[in-house]
């Protein structure tokens, strides 16, 4: 195990296919046209000294350390900004170059503290390296003159050039005294992250880096992605963990456990302690970038609240008692068996988690089907992207996004629907913004002015700010315009789609009731704007659709997914780079948990449980008889629990008591059960209703795979042994065995082999293969041995693409006199889902509580001013939170997040759900908002119950 140091080529790769051959120091090298001389030299293994260049960002040519000589050309050009040319002869080293470089270094060092031995960058400082590389032996200029290093001048007057450290960001420190003003940070913030938070204040010697208007990093628009820290060649921008703990000594490659982007990281370690996480350049999804969550917010894994010992209790009002693994598992098994004996087999079930690995998820669904003998297994994807699975499989034939992330680099017009990538999928948002800065046009369909609508150098051409709940009316109107104005792709439809279904659909959609003019009163989207957006999407070249939970979490979630698929087929935007229909998956392994057969009606690879040949395959492999009837979905389980026929639940790494809608219904269901087993890191909200707690492992301990939103299977590698003494899949296999079905694996790799054996799209996947290739996008089998970055290239998976009739049906959840506003919910960048992880990290610096966003007009009507406590009530519940007044939300709509349990945002949301999948309608709840000065009854009861239900018996000696 060593520290993995990635090669820095100095400048980004050139994209040209034309090759150029040149000579560097007598060696011949051939590179794409447009490559810098610096990069070409690095291809040969020659590292030209450099300071301001790094291959994350475009060259800038300011330090002049990278100078070279070119035969027949005058002067000493900078190799980072000089492109290669056919036949040139370059010298990277000569006496003249050496002298010039030393001169440059001398100037830098004369304004840099010489505290190398005690500096956090010691051993990892490019300035130090360059001093060595150019053979710097003396610095003739003293520190007495003008400098940025000392707070006071030698005459003890105040040094106006000195700026103290900025420690406002919880994760990194900015020490201006060490800055060499190379501007790598500024460029990283602009080019890689796209936030434009950093500037240079002043010119020449007075030039200094400032965050925002010099208000410090935390208060500025900085989103703490860390790209600048990574780009900085000195200790000026430095991770606090490195300052506190020293430099790392070995690397483990792994995958972020937060969102569905699935960024690859180098976990840089000292022993079994994580020193820092650095995004991996070769990561297929992120290519060296990250966000604040993945890079910095991993401290929860060692938070004091973490439970690492199994616990049980008789009743949920009893204190928890720590027990051995064997005792906990035996207890759970005997309770489950007793329930089945008394109430029937179908009285128990399990929920898999999109935060767990494919292998862990697969183990749980196998336990439920084989050991419990039922199909009552569902995954938390039920409440986010289940409509994606249903909608895309009916139209295209697969339950997955069509593209890789990189594809967006070729998109000409991008439609972002019901998603806020800058919050939910930050690294993809950076890619998206980059493409828009290059000239692609953007259409945003969202009630809110999300971070995509207007930000530095990015602006949506059309923002269709629809009323929540009217998605389908909008998508139908878009299709109506394209078809009735003759903008459809006739050749694509004729060749690739079911023409009879198309004809029927064309009849349906051209009906004047779908015209933008006919629906604008319902949707609030002006017809002219909608028509313009439709024309743009249909005619601007490659059209790519990206969508989020603002599409799926509605009564008509599935209909809307079909509407998006219809639109892509109508315009021929499927089956090549730059186009497609792409769900942005919320949690890291939403795609994987769906792929792994954790829906009650299907086995892995989306094959229906009623199909005898599929069942037979599993029955032979598992040596068991499987039930052919679909099982209960999560909301059905809870309803059955309230009804009295469902009594036992195994919950893997999910927190349904916080994340699922109508909290009081969920908790009534949980409280009605005889045995709830929770496998998690923390005593979460659901654990308050549990009888058995099995401690789970954090991603730093897991061995397995996550599958991201682009179907990319990434390895998660343990950097330390499980703090609980057991892998989660081990505990699950032991529980299955205790229930009477022998289940045992010696490694996670063995589970993946079983998945590959039983799942056609995974046939060629193995840990060995992933370790060799880094990652692969399914399907990966004999037909596609290298995986499938883009789907439906030659034809749709289902054969011909099917246009579906997508009538708009208004949700029954409507604004009324009593509840005149519509509440819609979402996420924020720094918190993740129920917040169980991020609330236990420094990220609370940004989002310490959930806030209700309300339009100034609605606030004024109610006498609400900024920051005041307001009560938010719907027909199912009531809560209290603080108001934030903003024009980013339309009149008549309010918005909040669900990251903090005490807010209980889901106390407000209702049981209404998608017609096809029961995905809850989180995005539309009729509410009233009014001033208050007290917590709601629910919140008071929550506080009491929470304290009572998390009590633990005094630790036994």
């Amino acid at each position: 195990m060593t520290l993995l140091t990635e090669k820095d080529f100095g400048t980004p790769p050139a994209q040209s296919t034309k090759l150029v051959t040149l000579e560097i120091d007598g060696h011949t090298v051939t590179v794409p046209e447009g490559t810098s001389i610096m990069r070409a030299a690095m291809e040969l293994g020659t590292q030209i000294p450099k300071l301001c260049a790094t291959d994350m960002v475009k060259p800038f040519g300011s330090c002049r350390l990278c100078i070279v000589e070119i035969e027949g050309r005058k002067g000493t050009p900078a190799s980072c900004t000089t492109p290669v040319a056919e036949g040139i002869k370059v010298k990277t080293q000569s006496d003249r170059l050496l002298q010039l470089r030393r001169g440059v270094m001398e100037l830098y060092i004369s304004d840099h503290p010489l505290d190398c031995l005690t500096c956090a960058s010691n051993g990892d400082c490019e300035l130090q390296d360059m001093a060595g590389a150019v053979g710097l032996r003396e610095v003739r200029y003293g520190f007495e003159g003008k400098n940025h290093i000392a707070a006071r001048n030698t005459d003890s007057s105040v040094n106006a050039s000195y700026k103290p450290k900025d420690t406002t960001n919880p994760y990194f420190t900015f020490d201006p005294a060490k800055c060499i003003v190379c501007l790598r940070c500024v460029r990283a913030c602009e080019e890689v992250q796209g936030t434009f938070a950093l500037t240079v204040d002043g010119r020449g010697f007075d030039g200094q880096i400032a965050a925002g208007m010099d208000e410090g990093f935390l208060a500025s628009e900085c989103v703490s992605c860390g790209a600048c820290v990574q780009a900085c060649p000195t200790a000026t921008l430095m991770e606090n963990t490195v300052i506190a703990r020293g430099q790392p000594e070995h690397t483990v490659l792994t995958t972020c456990a937060y969102c569905g982007v699935g960024c690859s990281f180098k976990a840089e370690m000292r022993g079994d302690e994580v020193i820092r996480m650095v995004p991996w350049k070769d990561g297929g999804a992120n290519e060296g970038h990250s966000c604040v969550k993945g890079r910095f917010a991993w401290g929860y894994a060692s938070h004091k609240d973490r439970i690492t010992t199994p616990m049980i209790r008789e009743r949920i009002t009893d204190p928890w008692r720590e027990v051995t693994w064997d005792e906990a598992i035996a207890h759970a098994a005997s309770r489950f068996k007793a329930i089945q004996a008394k109430y029937g087999k179908g009285a128990i079930g399990g929920i898999t988690s999109s935060r767990c690995t494919n292998e862990e998820v697969f183990a749980v669904q196998k336990m439920v089907r084989a050991a419990f003998g039922v199909n009552n297994v569902d995954t938390c994807a039920r409440v986010c992207h289940s409509p994606t699975g249903y909608g895309l499989s009916k139209t295209f034939g697969t339950s997955a996004g069509t593209q890789n992330f990189k594809s967006v680099d070729k998109a000409d017009v991008i439609m972002v629907v019901g998603a806020s990538p800058t919050d939910g999928h930050p690294v993809f948002a950076s890619r998206l913004k980059k493409r828009i800065r290059q000239g692609a046009r953007l259409i945003v369909i969202d009630p809110r002015a999300t971070g995509m609508v207007r930000s530095p150098h990015v602006e949506a051409v059309h923002h269709l700010a629809l009323l929540p709940g009217t998605n389908v009316a909008v998508i139908n109107a878009l299709a109506h315009v394209i078809l009735t104005e003759g903008l459809e792709n006739k050749a694509f439809i004729a060749e690739r789609c079911d023409t009879a279904e198309f004809a029927r659909w064309a009849d349906f959609i051209s009906d004047p009731r779908h015209a933008p003019e006919a629906v604008q009163d319902i949707t609030r989207v002006p017809a002219a704007e909608l028509r313009a957006a439709a024309r743009l999407y249909a005619t601007a070249g490659n059209g790519a659709i990206y969508y989020g939970l603002g599409v799926t979490e509605h009564s008509q979630g599935t209909t809307m997914v079909m509407g998006l698929a219809n639109l892509a087929m109508l315009t021929g935007n499927i089956g090549r780079e730059g186009v497609g229909v792409n769900p942005l998956r919320g949690q890291n392994n939403v795609q994987g948990s769906c792929d792994m057969g954790s829906f009650p009606h299907e086995l892995s690879g989306y094959r229906h449980i009623s199909d005898p040949s599929v069942r037979g395959l599993f029955e032979r492999d598992w040596n068991v008889t499987l039930d052919s009837d679909p099982g209960l979905r999560i909301p059905n389980m809870l309803a059955a629990a309230v009804d009295g026929s469902f009594k036992g639940l195994f919950v893997q790494g999910e927190d349904i008591a916080q994340s699922d809608p109508n909290t009081q219904h969920v908790t009534a269901g949980l409280a009605a059960m005889d045995c709830v087993v929770v496998q998690d890191l923390f005593l979460n909200e659901t654990a308050a209703y549990a009888h058995v707690f099995l401690p789970g492992t954090s991603f730093l301990e897991k061995d397995g795979t996550f599958t991201n939103a682009e179907r990319r299977i990434n390895r998660v590698r343990p950097v330390m042994a499980p703090k609980t003494g057991k892998h989660e899949w081990q505990a699950v296999a032991e529980l299955a065995s205790a229930m009477g079905y022998a289940m045992a694996y010696s490694s996670a790799a063995e589970i993946m082999d079983e998945i590959a054996r039983l799942t056609p799209g995974f046939a060629r996947v193995s840990f060995k293969m992933l370790d060799e290739r880094g990652s692969v996008q399914w399907p990966c089998n004999d037909a596609a041995p290298d995986g499938t970055p883009i789907m439906h290239v030659k034809g749709f998976v289902r054969g011909k693409g099917r246009f579906m009739l997508t009538d708009y049906v208004a949700t029954p959840e409507r604004a009324t006199g009593r509840f005149p506003l519509i509440l819609t919910t979402g996420r924020t960048l720094t918190q993740y889902n129920v917040g169980a992880q991020t609330r236990r990290t420094g990220n609370v610096a940004w989002h310490p509580e959930d806030i209700l966003e309300i339009h100034p007009h609605d606030a004024e009507l109610r006498g609400i001013s900024e920051g005041q406590l307001v009560s938010l009530s719907s027909r199912v519940g009531q809560t209290t939170l603080r108001a934030h007044i903003t024009e980013g939300i339309p009149v008549g709509v309010v918005y909040t997040t669900f990251h903090h349990p005490v807010t209980g945002a889901n106390v407000i949301t209702t049981d209404y759900s998608d017609w096809a999948t029961n995905c809850p309608e989180y995005k539309v709840t009729a509410v009233q908002v009014g001033l208050t000065n007290a917590a709601s009854d629910w919140q008071n009861q929550w506080t009491e119950h929470r304290a009572a239900s998390t009590r633990r018996e005094a630790r036994r000696q």
Binding site: G346, N375, N376, F508, S555, Q556, T558, T559, P600, H601, H608, S610, D629, P630, G631, L632, R633, N636, A639, A640, V642, D643, S645, Q664, H665, T667, A668, L805, T806, D807, V809, V876, G877, D911, S913, W915, A916, T917, N918, W938, Q941
Partner: protein, 77 residues
């Protein structure tokens, strides 16, 4: 923590009507067939049993498409 929840029958009625609502664009006969197929593919036996019992008891609140679909819904053992 008290709250009034839908009864099981109300929930099933709402869900079945929603399914029928989607397929109604396909005309009554096809809609009934598709509604039944959907319920057979995704509803657990006690839900199907509950719905069929409600149909047998007169099916108050169910849409005509659901009532037409009922004959094709797999009756749980």
């Amino acid at each position: 923590m008290t709250a009034a929840f839908e009864t099981e029958t109300e929930t099933l009625t709402r869900m079945a009507n929603q399914i029928a609502g989607f397929f109604s664009a396909y005309g009554e006969a096809e809609a009934a067939a598709e509604t039944a197929t959907h319920i057979n593919a995704y509803w657990e036996s006690r839900m199907r049993r509950g719905l069929l019992a409600h149909v047998a008891a007169g099916g108050v609140g169910l849409s005509p498409i659901v009532l037409a679909a009922a004959v094709k819904i797999n009756r749980p053992a």
